[in-house]
Subunit: 407 residues, 2 copies
C-alpha cells in the first residue's frame, strides 16, 4: 500500500458503553488485519462530559473556564485508556495518549481553543513504526504554558482532522450514528439516497443548515488542508459518504441534498425609519446578547420606512424578545412580530454555480404544492426558503422529487 495510514474518529455514541468500546476494538483489529496503520481519536463516553459539567455547576454557577477544561478533559482520557485495553484484548499492541502527550498545541483560550500545531507528531510516528495502534484523546489540547485546553463543540473531529493533516493520512474516517450524508432526512423522505461523494463546500452548507453529521469548524479545517473525510456508521461496515474537494463529476449534479430546519423562529421589526446604520443598530444589540442570527432580510415597505426580518434559534427566542423590546424603542420601530411557526427548507449543490434555473425550479415546486414562501436567501451553492411549519415535510418531499434525488 502506498499510504496505509488511516485516522479514525469515534464519537461519544460509538463508545457509549463497554460493549460498544469492544466493537470499536474489533473494527480496529479488522483494519489492522488488512494492513492499515491506525491513529484513532476518541470522544468521551456517552454523556460523560455533561455529567462533569453538572458537577461543576453544583459548585458554582460561574466556573472558571481553565478549571472546566481541567475537569472535562478527563472524559476523553478515560475513553482512550479503555479503548487501548480493549484493543490489547484483541491481541494487538496499542498505546493511548492525552492531547498534551502528542502535543495538540492550542492557543491560550479555554473551552474553545484553536489548534496551532501538532508538536509531537514524531512520537505518534514512532509508535506507528512499532506496529502500535495509536489512540489519542479527542477534544483536548495543551497551550504553551502546559495548561490543558479543550476545543469546544465538535472538538474531537478537529483533533482527527488535524492529525490526519499532520500525519498525511490517506483518509480521516468519522464514525457516527448515521450511515453518511443523505439527499434528505430519511425520516421525512422515504427514498432519500445516501450520497457516495460530496464536496467540502456542500457539506459546509449542509452542516450550517442543521445536518448534524459534522461541525462546520472541523469541515473548514478539512477543506483548508484538503483532508479527505469519510463519514460512516460505527454500527455496520457499509461505505458512508466521502467528503473531498470538488471534482468535475460533482458539478453535473444540480442539487446534492434537501435540508429542513424547524429549530428557528422569525422576528420581524415593522416600520423602522429607514436611515443609515439602522441595521447595525439592531444587530449590534443582538450580538451583544450572544444571539446567533441566521437569515437577515430587509425590505422597503413604504417610503421612508423599512421592515427588517431575521431568524434566530428557537431556544434563543426568549433572550431575543428581551433584547428586541429595547431595540424597538431605540430604532423607533412601530412593532415587532415573533413567529415560531416557521421552517427553513434548503437545497445545496455545487452544480448551481454553473447551471441556471435551479432557484426558479425550487420556487415553482413550492408553488405547485400551494406553499407560500416567507423569506428567501441564497448563496453560491445554496437556496433557502422560510415557509409555514405545517408545510415543511410536504415541501421537502416535493423538492426531493422535483430534482430527481431519490433512488
Amino acid at each position: 500500500m502506498k499510504n496505509s495510514l488511516i485516522v479514525q474518529k469515534y464519537g461519544g455514541t460509538s463508545v457509549a458503553n463497554l460493549e460498544r468500546i469492544k466493537n470499536v476494538a474489533k473494527r480496529i483489529a479488522g483494519y489492522r488485519k488488512k494492513g492499515y496503520s491506525l491513529v484513532v481519536v476518541v470522544s468521551a463516553l456517552g454523556d460523560t462530559t455533561d455529567g462533569l459539567l453538572k458537577l461543576a455547576h453544583g459548585i458554582t454557577s460561574t466556573p472558571s473556564e481553565r478549571e472546566i477544561d481541567m475537569l472535562i478533559s478527563t472524559g476523553e482520557q478515560v475513553s482512550v485508556a479503555l479503548l487501548a485495553m480493549a484493543v490489547h484484548k484483541m491481541g494487538l499492541d496499542a498505546v493511548s495518549f492525552t492531547g498534551a502527550q502528542v502535543g495538540i498545541l492550542t492557543d491560550r483560550s479555554h473551552t474553545k481553543a484553536r489548534i496551532i500545531d501538532v508538536s509531537s507528531a514524531d512520537k505518534i510516528r514512532s509508535e506507528l513504526r512499532k506496529n502500535k495502534v495509536v489512540i489519542v484523546a479527542g477534544f483536548q489540547g495543551v497551550n504553551l504554558d502546559q495548561e490543558i485546553t479543550t476545543l469546544g463543540r465538535g472538538g474531537s473531529d478537529i483533533t482527527a482532522v488535524a492529525l490526519a493533516k499532520t500525519l498525511k493520512a490517506r483518509v480521516c474516517e468519522i464514525y457516527t450514528d448515521v450511515e453518511g450524508v443523505y439527499t434528505a432526512d430519511p425520516r421525512i423522505v422515504k427514498d432519500a439516497r445516501k450520497l457516495s461523494r460530496i464536496s467540502y463546500e456542500e457539506m459546509l452548507e449542509l452542516a450550517s443548515l442543521g445536518a448534524q453529521v459534522m461541525q462546520s469548524r472541523s469541515m473548514e479545517v478539512a477543506k483548508k488542508f484538503q483532508v479527505p473525510l469519510h463519514i460512516r456508521s460505527s454500527l455496520n461496515n457499509k461505505e458512508g459518504t466521502i467528503i473531498s474537494k470538488e471534482v468535475k463529476a460533482m458539478e453535473e449534479v444540480l442539487v446534492s441534498g434537501v435540508t429542513l430546519n424547524k429549530g428557528e423562529a422569525k422576528v420581524t421589526i415593522c416600520d423602522v425609519p429607514d436611515r443609515p446604520g439602522i441595521a447595525a443598530c439592531i444587530f449590534k444589540d443582538l450580538a451583544k446578547a450572544n444571539i446567533n442570527v441566521d437569515m437577515i432580510i430587509q425590505n422597503i415597505s413604504r417610503t421612508g420606512y423599512t421592515d427588517v426580518s431575521f431568524t434566530v434559534p428557537l431556544d434563543e427566542l426568549g433572550r431575543t424578545r428581551q433584547t428586541m423590546e429595547r431595540v424597538v424603542k431605540d430604532v423607533r420601530a412601530k412593532d415587532v412580530i415573533f413567529n415560531s411557526d416557521i421552517a427553513k427548507v434548503s437545497i445545496v449543490g455545487v452544480g448551481m454555480k454553473s447551471h441556471s434555473g435551479v432557484a426558479a425550479k425550487m420556487f415553482e415546486t413550492l408553488a405547485s404544492k400551494r406553499v407560500n414562501i416567507d423569506m428567501i436567501s441564497t448563496s453560491e451553492i445554496k437556496i433557502s426558503c422560510v415557509i409555514n411549519k405545517k408545510h415543511a415535510e410536504k415541501a421537502v418531499r416535493a423538492i426531493h422529487k422535483a430534482f430527481g434525488l431519490g433512488k
Copy 2:
C-alpha cells in the same frame, strides 16, 4: 510568620461529594485569612477510583498497567478542578495542577511508581507568590517519557509529603475521617485518648499493625526527610496528632498505644524435619504466591523436628492453603493447621527502648485476665501477642488500663 507555607492533603472521604468539597474550600479560606500560604493535595472523589477500575475489568481481566494509570489518574484531576472552582467561589484565587504539570517525577513502573523528584516546584512557588492557593492532584506523577504514572495505595499522602519536603513547608496536614491517632480504638476502649504527639517510628509500627490512619510508605518518606505531619479530621477544627521525630519527652512515655488486628490467620506446620534451609523452602513458595506473611515463629518441639508458625491476612488464607498443600509435601512435614480464630494485640512506644519490664507487664496483664498467649513477637518499640479472638477486646482494655493510657 517565619514560614507560612502549609501543605494540606484531603483524602477521598473528605471530598466525597460537592458539599464536602465546599467545606474543604471553607477551611482553605479560613487558613488564608490567617495568613498561611497553601498547597493542597486532593484524592479522587469517594469511590471514583474503584468505579474506574470496574470499567477496566469490564473490558479485560488483565488490563495493561500503563493504561490503568491513564484511566484512574482522571479521578484526582476531577477533584482538583472542582476544588479550585469551590475556592474561587469563596472569593479566593486558586489554580489546579495535575501531577505531570507540577513535575511529580516518578520511576517507570506503573500503578505503584516511586517519586524521584518534584521537578517543577518553581511553578508552584511562582503561583504561591501570586497569592494563589495551589491545588495538586494526589496519587499521580509522570515519568521521564511523559507517561502518566500512579503511586499506589496511600499515593496522595506521598504526594503531599514530597511537596512538603520540596517546598520546605512548616507542616504537612493530613485530613482524614478520624480525629488523630488514639491510644487504642475508641470503639473498643471507651477512655482511649487522642495522642497529641507521636514519633515517626511509633506511627510506622502502628500503621504496620493495622491502624488505618496512614500508609507506612508515606510515613517512611516523612521520616526520611523529617517532614512534620499533622493527622486531623476534615469534619471539625480540633487539633489532631502531630507526628515528628522522636523528642526527649516521648521517651518518658512507656507505651503510646495499644492496637488490635483481627484480620489475620495463623498457620502452623507441624513436625518439620529440622534441617538447614527448611524455613527458606517454606517462605520462598509463599512469597512466589505473593502472600504477605506477618509474624514468623519457629520452635523446636522434639529432637530433630520443628514447628513453624506464621500469620497471614485472612483474605489470603485461601491462596495460603493451596500453597501449603504443596509445601507440606516438599518439606515432609507431618501436618499443617490453619486457625482463623486469632487476634493480634500489640503495644507500641519509643519508651520501651530505655525501659525494661514492659513486655513482662503486658504478659502479666494478659495472664491476670486468663488470656492464653499463642505467639509473641517483638521489635525495639513494639510487642505483639497472638491470642484467641474471643478475648481480643478484653485484652486490649486490660492492657490500655495497665499502662495508664486512659484519660
